[in-house]
């Protein structure tokens, strides 16, 4: 394996080094080193930065900022992120969670990237050194991203964040699919706003916009969510892999979305 690792103390210097051909940013290694071990020769040089801000979690006034190098394990055990813990624990086994980072998860292709599904439902922003992007904009063109992700930020909903991962092996298995939702309900119980994100239903996490629209003004009952479930598969193009076929994923999506909404 002809790889060279370059370590920089600042993101700025690492970004400059990342402009060279054949370079890739190294986070926890669960994607990039895996690719190298598998024989991916497109990468000859790995770049990383040890800037402390990349490993920091700050929570203040409902605003959350998670540095890109923060691991899934660090999120899962953070006292202020308890309602996100099950989404972080959905990733890998214990060793993977000690390594896999938030920044890396943003790039994980289906069937991986469960935590990014949660971030998409939370309407997160993706921060780079000199600005930030809405997560949907970032995901749409993530292959062409050449700037180091420094953090993700979002406003924590008071409640109403739901997450579900379906896998065939318990407790740890690769996703058949994952669903995250952030719902707000009016005092009469009807849904006043909904963001629903799906994992494994395309090559990257996607919004279920038709299902979201169908949920507005409805109550979270079997009858109330029926139109939402009927619209759940609109716009999906699931992956077919050894875990499940695209057909199967489309068939079971409404079942699991129903469980998430009624649960």
């Amino acid at each position: 394996m002809a790889l060279a690792l370059q370590t920089f103390s600042t993101v700025k210097d690492a970004n400059a080094a990342l402009k060279a051909a054949g370079t890739r940013y190294l986070g926890g290694g669960t994607l990039v080193v895996r690719a190298a071990n598998e024989g991916d020769v497109s990468v000859s040089s790995l770049i990383r930065s040890t800037e402390p801000a990349l490993s920091a979690i700050t929570v203040s006034g409902g605003k959350v900022r998670i540095g890109a190098s923060v691991t899934m394990a660090a999120i899962a055990r953070h006292p202020d992120l308890a309602s996100l813990a099950h989404a972080a624990r959905a990733v890998g086994g214990p060793a993977i969670r000690n390594m896999a980072t938030v920044g890396g998860n943003l790039f994980a292709p289906a069937p991986y990237g469960d935590f990014t599904v949660a971030l998409l439902a939370l309407d997160a922003t993706v921060n780079i050194d000199d600005g930030e992007l809405p997560i949907e904009t970032f995901l749409a063109k993530r292959e062409s991203n050449h700037a180091i992700i420094t953090a993700v930020g979002f406003t924590f909903p008071a409640d109403g964040f739901r997450f579900l991962k379906v896998s065939r092996i318990k407790p740890k298995g690769v996703s058949v699919l994952s669903i995250a939702a952030v719902l707000e309900q009016a005092p009469d119980g009807t849904v006043s706003s909904a963001r629903i994100a799906l994992g494994c239903m395309a090559d990257r996490p996607m919004r279920a916009t038709a299902a979201e629209k169908a949920l507005l003004g409805r109550t979270l009952t079997s009858d109330g969510i029926a139109p939402t479930l009927a619209a759940a598969g609109d716009g999906t193009s699931p992956v077919t892999d050894p875990i499940a076929s695209a057909w199967y994923r489309n068939e079971v999506l409404p079942v699991h979305l129903g469980r998430l909404l009624l649960g």
Binding site: M1, A4, L26, G29, N37, G93, P94, A95, P171
Partner: protein
Amino acid sequence: MAKVPVQFTLNGAEKAEFIDSGTTLLNALRDKIGDTSPKGGCHQGTCGACSVIIDGELRLSCLTLAETCNGAAITTTSGLSEGGVLHPLQRAFLDAFATQCGFCTSGMIMAAKVLLDHTPNPSRDEVVEALSGNICRCTGYEPIIQAVLTAARSNSQNAA
């Protein structure tokens, strides 16, 4: 390619080596330092056979670059026995027939050790969760789970 220096503590002993940049910790341990207790299974982060403990956390040595471990304290299964006396986990694995072909055993023991270090009296579910990143194709897992529970009991008896 120029060699780079790495220096870390392995099972309590200082180690320093010159390695090729980009070498995984698994390859550095096995091929340069001679500790073959971490096994190279899938090299994809899926099987857990290469699990080691780095600064108290379970990690996969096949996906960790050795250079990122400078200054770290690394524990592998080969460092568990003391003076020829097996660690309670190793003893329990032998007694419970929790090892058949043995390829996953070292990684399983590392995952179990991290669990028992933090949770001395784990429930069965906690053991299953702790071992969930480690694959065994021989035992069906039940003897392994029982071995970890037995080791936990013998630890707590020794402590009492």
